[in-house]
Amino acid sequence: MYRTSIPRLACFGLMLAIPAQALAQQAETTEVIKLPLINSSDFDFISLVFGGVLKKAGYNIEFTPVDYTAHFQGVVTGDFPITTGAWATTPAPVQDALASGKVEDYGPNGVEVREGWWYPTYVEAVCPGLPDYRALMKPDCQKALATAETAPKARFVNAPSDWTTDVDKRAEAFGIDLEIISAGTPVALAAAISGAIDKKEPILAWGYSPYWITAKYDGKWVEFPKAEDACFSDPKWGSNPDKTWDCGYKTGQIGKLANKEFIAKVPLAQKVLRNFKLATGDVGRATEEADVKGRPMPEVADEWIAANEAKWRAWLK
């Protein structure tokens, strides 16, 4: 990706020079700042846009692939001083990083995520009554969703087991008999869903958005009673008087974190981080460009930066 040679270096120098004139403030350091890419389009687009803007401000940015969970440890140690993709819906690694005392929370980045139980629309033929969750309790629907491995229970293809999905808690609270099979990785989840759709096999699976699978294929979210705080703490709330968790999913936020010691040294980058906000629709479109149309993500991110100059210039002020 960065097969840079001498003429390109000259360009790079030029790029450094122009914004330095145009901007009131400039980068405090030429040290390499490593930003994470986790090979997930939503995360990578957000990180690439943020890094791209920091580059315009004159910072020396290097994007490095890394494991999602592990990269929070990198924020703690300072190897990856900034992350713009902390999913609030899987809180454990984020909280662990914050608990170290070395990491500061910079709040949400404006992108809203939707998560929940998802199915291709043709499943409604065997489970009449969907998207209402009560349709899943009917014996015919259970039978249609069962596989040789899970029979007599219906199968739920869950997200990797290191994500917090609480499918089991909800299934228990609503009394839906499910055998939950974790996909292990997002890749396996995508393969399972797309293979089932090829064969028009009934499937109930974990879905999230922005994500290309839920965008590309014709499908729907299972509808549950709307989530309120009381649902998770008060058993009396909701349809099941003895259990908490008898409600749906809240929409989540994606957060921004930074290593305290590092961010103190770079006030301009800190300002950009604080102001940095993207629209959910922009991220959704970008993931489609990359995953469905097959364009390289850095190209898609650069395009956004070129088209939204007014927006990111405001972050620098």
Binding site: Y2, R3, T4, S5, I6, P7, R8, L9, F12, V32, K34, N39, S40, T64, P65, V66, D67, T69, A70, F72, Q73, G74, V76, T77, D79, F80, T90, A92, P93, D96, S100, K102, T147, A148, E149, P160, S161, D162, I181, S182, A183, G184, T185, P186, V187, A188, A190, A191, A192, S194, G195, A196, D198, K199, E201, W212, A290, D291, V292, G294
Partner: protein
């Protein structure tokens, strides 16, 4: 602690039988109690949380003389990283930030030098292989990624082989060292990478070194094991030769013994290379870049074409590297006559390679656009593979599904249900008694201790879920692998095909075929079982074939003279002589099957491997480590029982002949 005499008495066959009978009675008497079926939750001892706390302290707060512990390790890491960075800069990245100060060597230089070197080391055949590999990488636009991977693997192979040979020699010299190292190897090969991923990253930084450490951990053990085996199976006459010629200890090792065991060592080296490439793909998720990154980036959006292209590139590189090392190791010193041509004529390869490198450097500095392969000359398979999967699903989806269901209902579920339903005490009892009868009191105590540790920490059900897949997978692998290895020993052509097959299985990243298999078969245990069986077949073929082929020609000739047919010679002469190799093969088959669980966790199997993955997500280092160690415990039990079984068979055979 009993005295030695007591131990010996217990170890003697009648003593063993009595102890076994008593143990059986105890187990049967306890079975009516509920807790011998399912270990109660309240009784679970959880060493996980304190380990997590201790690790956090070690990583974040522990200081030596005011310097943070992780900081000290990281500074040391920088030094070790240096050679790696140099190789990587030379091959792929260039020097300076983004290769600005000095670009990497251009493709035609590297390929030219490699081809020249190949011709010098291995003749025309090796030259063709290298040329083909290079052309493939260029045409599919994978050159830069491939060189990044190549750089890290080269360093890992050198480091891994050196450490492996050193440990192997140590284990051969001292039985105490061997006793300590053997379980360590099992640990390194089976402990899922998720168990130690976070500690490695925190202590060694998110750089190439973390990848190197992870690679060496996984790839080194076969080298160490084969070194010990090689030295141990050398004929006495070679040792005598070393003594007679007046070698010192060091001289005899380096100049006589190791060269004499070259063939077995090459098997070890091949394993180090293959496993290093296998891990290199995984190192992509911790920032190593290269072909692994390409592969996962394509798979993320289920683009099978680029993923398969990158996967095949890894396999080709592994085969090319292995054959090159093999050619180098087998190259005989050339004895030239003093008047045998001019200096130039004798060093034509060296000169050609040097010229190419100098030319390349000049080209790289003056005309940098030359150093990139023209994009318009590259190609891809487009959506061919995706279309293929879709059409298979459309055409044969139902037939495949009914076959899968039959397999699940007929084989997978019964085995799994039986293992999960059986009371743990019964399983522990059976294994312990087996250990007692096969190997004696010491083995029985080891087996019981390891299994009880799994019970007490509350991972029994998960362990049985892992075990069921591994047992089925290893059994299928052995049933396919041993016959294939035997046929290979009879027929040179088959042997060549087998070699390529083994290298492909071991280096083609499992995800490349697992993802399409999931798209066709659906997610679950069937694709996982297929992956385990396929992966574990490699050592079964490899060790059978190489073991059989190593039987001395003179022995075979003797067999022929006494009227053996080729098949009789194989069954009656080669097989018995090669038994140590076959046993190592069986042992490795089982261990590889356990090792593959790391991958199957990623496609949703639910045993101990899933616990380690889950713990990674919760940043629960302790929990991940304990679950990983339980997996190691189960592996060790299988390994030790198998070995005792085999040893006994050997003793029985010798006794009946004597």
């Amino acid at each position: 602690m009993g005295s030695n005499a007591e131990l010996e008495r217990a170890a003697s066959p009648p003593g063993r039988l009595i102890v076994a009978a008593v143990a059986t009675c105890v187990v049967l008497a306890l079975l009516p109690f509920r807790w011998t079926w399912d270990w109660p939750k309240e009784w679970v001892i959880a060493p996980g949380p304190p380990i997590t706390v201790a690790f956090r302290w070690l990583a974040r707060d522990f200081t030596i003389g005011g310097v943070e512990f992780s900081g000290i390790l990281r500074s040391a890491a920088k030094v070790v990283e240096l050679p790696m960075m140099i190789v990587q800069s030379l091959l792929a990245k260039g020097f300076g930030p983004f290769g600005s100060a000095f670009p990497p060597l251009p493709w035609f230089t590297l390929l030219g030098a490699a081809v020249t070197f190949a011709h010098w080391a291995g003749g025309l055949r090796l030259l063709m292989l290298i040329l083909f590999t290079g052309a493939y990488l260029l045409i599919f636009g994978l050159w830069t990624s491939a060189m990044t991977t190549m750089a890290s693997v080269l360093v890992a192979v050198v480091v891994g082989s050196l450490i492996g040979v050193a440990l192997g020699v140590m284990a051969w010299r001292s039985t105490i060292a061997e006793g300590m190292l053997e379980p360590l190897y099992d640990l390194l090969q089976v402990l899922p990478i998720f168990s130690y991923l976070v500690p490695i990253l925190v202590f060694f930084g998110f750089g190439p070194l973390a990848g190197l450490v992870a690679t060496v951990i996984f790839a080194m053990p076969p080298m160490a094991r084969t070194t010990t085996l090689a030295l141990r199976t050398l004929p006495r006459s070679i040792f005598e030769l070393a003594v007679v010629t007046g070698c010192s200890r060091r001289q005899s090792l380096w100049l006589v013994l190791l060269p004499a065991s070259r063939d077995t060592l090459l098997v070890g080296l091949n394993q180090v290379i293959n496993l290093s490439f296998a891990v290199a793909v995984f190192a992509a998720i911790i920032g190593a870049g290269g072909l692994g990154t390409d592969l996962f980036a394509a798979l993320k959006s289920l683009k099978l074409g680029p993923a398969i292209a990158a996967g095949i590139a890894i396999t080709l590189l592994a085969i090319a590297l292995d054959r090159t090392f093999r050619a180098l190791a087998s190259k005989r010193p050339r004895h030239v006559r003093a008047d045998g041509g001019t200096w130039i004529a004798r060093h034509v390869h060296l000169l050609a390679a040097s010229a190419l490198i100098v030319m390349g450097l000049l080209a790289a500095v003056t005309r940098s656009e030359l150093s990139a392969f023209p994009a318009s000359w590259t190609m891809s398979t487009g959506t061919f593979w995706n279309d293929l999967v879709t059409s298979i699903n459309a055409a044969a989806g139902e037939t495949i599904a009914s076959f899968r269901n039959a397999l699940i209902i007929g084989l997978l579920r019964p085995v799994k249900d039986a293992l999960l339903a059986a009371p743990w005490l019964l399983v522990v009892g059976i294994c312990t008694v087996a250990g007692l009868l096969l190997g004696g009191l010491r083995l029985a105590v080891t087996v019981a201790g390891l299994l009880l540790a799994v019970v007490v920490t509350g991972y029994w059900d998960a362990a049985m879920t892992s075990l069921y897949l591994v047992l089925l997978g290893a059994a299928i692998a052995a049933l396919i692998g041993f016959p294939l290895g035997m046929i290979g020993a009879l027929n040179g052509m088959v042997a060549d095909v087998n070699d390529v097959l083994v290298d492909t299985i071991q280096t083609l990243p499992p995800f490349v075929y697992l993802v399409p298999v999931i798209m066709v078969l659906g997610i679950g245990d069937v694709p996982a079982l297929a992956a385990i069986a396929l992966y574990a077949v490699a050592p079964a073929i490899k060790f059978t074939q190489s073991g059989l082929l190593q039987v001395k020609r003179s022995v075979l000739e003797a067999a022929e003279m006494s009227g053996c047919t080729r098949l009789q010679a194989l069954l009656l002469v080669q097989l018995p002589i090669a038994r140590p190799h076959l046993l190592l093969g069986l042992n490795q088959t089982v261990i590889m099957a356990f090792g593959m669980l790391v991958i199957t966790a990623l496609v949703g199997t639910r045993g101990l491997e899933a616990n380690t993955l889950k713990a990674l997500g919760k940043v629960d280092t302790g929990e991940g480590l304990v679950a990983g160690l339980c997996l190691v415990a189960i592996t060790a039990v299988c390994d030790r029982l198998l070995r005792a079984c085999a040893r006994r068979a050997m003793v029985a055979r010798t006794a009946s002949h004597g």
